[in-house]
Structures are given as structure tokens and as C-alpha cells.
Subunit: 293 residues, 2 copies
Amino acid sequence: MSAAPTVSAPLDPTLLDAVELALADFLAAQKIPENLRAACLHAVLAGGKRLRPILVLESARAAGGSVEGAMPAAVAIEFVHAFSLVHDDLPALDNDTMRRGKPTCHVAFGEAMAILAGDCLLALAPVAAARAAHNAAEIQRELMSGTVRMIAGQVYDTLQGFPDGLPDGQKLELVHHNKTGALLEASCRMGALASGADETTIARLTTYGRATGLMFQIVDDLIDATQTAEHAGKATGKDAEAGKLTYPTVHGLDGSRREIARLRAEASEAIAPLGARAERLAFLLDFLATRTK
Amino acid sequence: MSAAPTVSAPLDPTLLDAVELALADFLAAQKIPENLRAACLHAVLAGGKRLRPILVLESARAAGGSVEGAMPAAVAIEFVHAFSLVHDDLPALDNDTMRRGKPTCHVAFGEAMAILAGDCLLALAPVAAARAAHNAAEIQRELMSGTVRMIAGQVYDTLQGFPDGLPDGQKLELVHHNKTGALLEASCRMGALASGADETTIARLTTYGRATGLMFQIVDDLIDATQTAEHAGKATGKDAEAGKLTYPTVHGLDGSRREIARLRAEASEAIAPLGARAERLAFLLDFLATRTK
């Protein structure tokens, strides 16, 4: 059991460093072609908030577990996230050439390698997760179930496939709950599972993860809708221009803010009984609710 | 424990029917968009020998386990195989438009959907495997480790990435052991693991799987090098035309035949102590050693 952390920033810098190291170490140890390793490293070590692994590790702490015991699950979820970015960036999907100031994987390594490197990261994820301290079978299953939901959300978002006659509000829910929410919820559950937590604690962290995940996406939508308004003097952002369903277009700006407040309260209440051990999760929630980019 | 089968054909038709049904049932039960489900079904139910699931199930029988207990692992390995075909067929890779007389996934459903359907099948595989009767964590890990090796083999075969100065013979070994061998070996190990087999039995079936997998690929190379297009059911001699490393180009036709005989004997000896329960695996080995297409 690790001591309750002294909180100064929402993302523990020691934890962030440990995640970076674990990601690089795991890839370095794999027996794979050097060009494939380079493409995977390019995709994984491209910076980013490391939100998902941090959620895994802070959930493990909140459940009374150790960072070490949950690190394999943290590495695994970031591999899945990296895989999804590599494939989403492909010409046949979003056709993005730059990400975080660097060429995307297919620009740097070619399209064939980007497809295979994404596949490789996805397949490596459960291999990494299998090393978790407890519940290795459930963690691998949870990780891949979340991944299937994320892919389903991506299909709903970009290629439709909704049941006939579904109202916009319910379509939006399918997209949001799956596309972003699934992996954030899985992160929290994996952290709890890796710590061998009891059912009640797992349920608390599941509620926190689900509410935080949905809130994260609504905040994203709100930033897109309002920041473009400020910068370009338009009433709607690029999501609306692209004809995508967003929380503000379906429920309005005020409706979005009310839902963010509701989900924030729900997540906060869920982890309150975990006490000081969950302090960083509470800070993380505040950070994600109030972020402006 | 299932009774020793009465052998008349190398691939048990009852088992084949059960595999087809289990594949369709599992996909039907998933909560995914209907267009994504259609693309996955197109990829999975496109016919084929079902060699990998049959190896899983016959290995389970040989280890004294049940078909039912190993079926989740059989479904899982076929999902991985189907994923690999969908992605290999993509324009950026082999750019194949037809497979087994039907349009490939990206031709039928578009490139974006083919990428996502392949991803979905890969992610669903461990979810299916997690339902195996025994050793769910090890089976998921084995499945995904084999998948990483298969992807590594595909990179070696098409995008190189070999260590500097490696002789052709060793390059060929890296390609063969990984690209085809990995999943066939994993199939046999998963069947044994799903049956809760002891270490000795797992080791026997691992040796059988590794030798059979390598032999399978050498037979493939030999068919490509020696047979007419009509007989082999596909374009032949195209490996040599593409300048790919094959067993016959590196070790000659006689060398290839000798290696097939050696591997066949090795696989046969490995399972001999398992007795009548392994009879179908023995028939399968003979079938794979002597096939001409």
C-alpha cells in the first residue's frame, strides 16, 4: 500500500517520468524488427498528457495498491491509445500529417509500416497488461473490451452505422460513451483490478471513470465550440462545420455546462469514501473539468 | 474428456461446422455498429480451411480436454487470422482486390472501414479467448504474443528491418518462424492451455505446433516454386518474381523436401506418446505435409 501523495499538481511529475520510462523499456525489450520498433517508439514517445496511464496508476493508489503493480496496465492502455492515433491519422481516415509538432507515423515511416505499427501496438498491449500484479485475465479482457468500444465509437462518429431512426441525442450518447469514455473508464477499472481491490472499490472507481470519461468529451466539445467562436468570430466550431454531432449542438452551451457540473459531482462523490488515497483523482477531476485546451 | 475421434478425413466436418457457428454467434452477440459487424462478418465468414481453430480444438482433444472448453480460443485465433488478411489486403500493403472469389474487405466496405474492422477483430480476439475453460490469462497472452510475432514476420517479409549483415538463411528463418509459424504454434499451445494440460503435454504440443508451422510454410514455398497456377489455385512463381526469400531459393528443392520430411518426423514423434487422442493431429500433419495447393 502506498502512502497518500502530497498533491501539488494534478499530474504527478514523478509518475509521468515513470510512465515514460516504462513505455520505452517495454518496447526496447521486444524481439521485433528495428524499423517496426522505431515506428512504434515514434508513435508512443510523441509526448501527450499520458492521461490514461495516470488514471490507471492513480486509481491503483486510490484502491490501496502500488504503482509498480499497476504499471503494466498503464503501459498497456497507452499502447492502445497510441495505436488508435496512428490508425486514425491514416490517409483513409483523418489523413493528418502532423501531430504534436511531429510528422504522423505514416508520413515518417510510410503507410504500410504505420498500419503494421498500429497493429503491433494493439497486440502488444495485452502482453504488457498480463504482467499486472493481480487479475491478469480480467485486466487483459477489460482492456480489449474497452478497445472494441473505442473502435465502435470511432465507426459511429465517422462512418455511422446507427440503428434506424435513432434520435440525435441517443446517437451522440453512443459516440461519446464509446469513443473516448470507454478507455478512460477501462483505465480506472484496470488500476483497481491490478490492485486486487474489492467489488465496492472497483464499483466506485468505475463510476468515477465513466463520469470522468463522458465529462472529458463534453469539455472537449465545449472547447471546440467556444474557442473557435472567440478566435474566428463564428458561432460554431470545426465539429459543427464537419456536421458532427456534439454535445453543444444537441444540448446547447448551457446544457453542456450543466452536464459537466453534474458528471463532476457524480465522479467526486463516487471516490469521496476512499479518502486521502483518492486525493489526486479528485484533483485530476477538477483539472479535467476546468481545462481550456 | 472427449473420446478419441473416429478418423476419416483430416479436418473433422462436425468440428468445422461447430467453428463456423461459434464465429458467427460471437460476432452476432457484440454491441457494435451494424456496418462494422457486417464488415467483420464478411472478413470472418469468407470460407477458408479454418486450419488454426482446428489445430486449437484437436490439440485440446489430444491434451484430454473438451472441444467446448477450447472453442473460445479457436474463435479467437481465427479472428486474428481474419484481421491479418484484411490488413494485408489493404492498398498500402498487398493491394489485393479479391480473396476466395469475393471482393476483399476494403473493396466491399471502403478502406476506412477495412482498417477499423481489422482493428476490431484483433481487439475482439482476446475478449473471446478470455472465455476458455482454463488458463484464460495465459491464453490471451499467448494469442497476442503470437500475433506480435506474426506482425514482425510480415514486416521482415515486406519491409525488411533485419539486423545488419544477416545471411539469407537466417533472414528466411526469421520470416518463416514468425509470419506463419507463430500463430500455428500458438494454436496448439492455446488448445493445450485451455484443457488445463500438464507441462509435459504442453511441451509436446508446442513442439508439434512449431514443427508443423514451419513445415506448412516450406510446403507453401515449394508449391509456389514448382506447381502450375491452375493446380495451386493461385498465381505461382510470384514469390521468386517478387524477389522474396523462400526456402527453395535459399536451400534448393531437394533441401526443402528434406526439411519437410525432418519437421514432419519431429512433429509426429512429439505427439506419439499422446496415443489415440492425438490421432487426428497425426492425420492433419500428413495432410499438411502432402498437400499440393
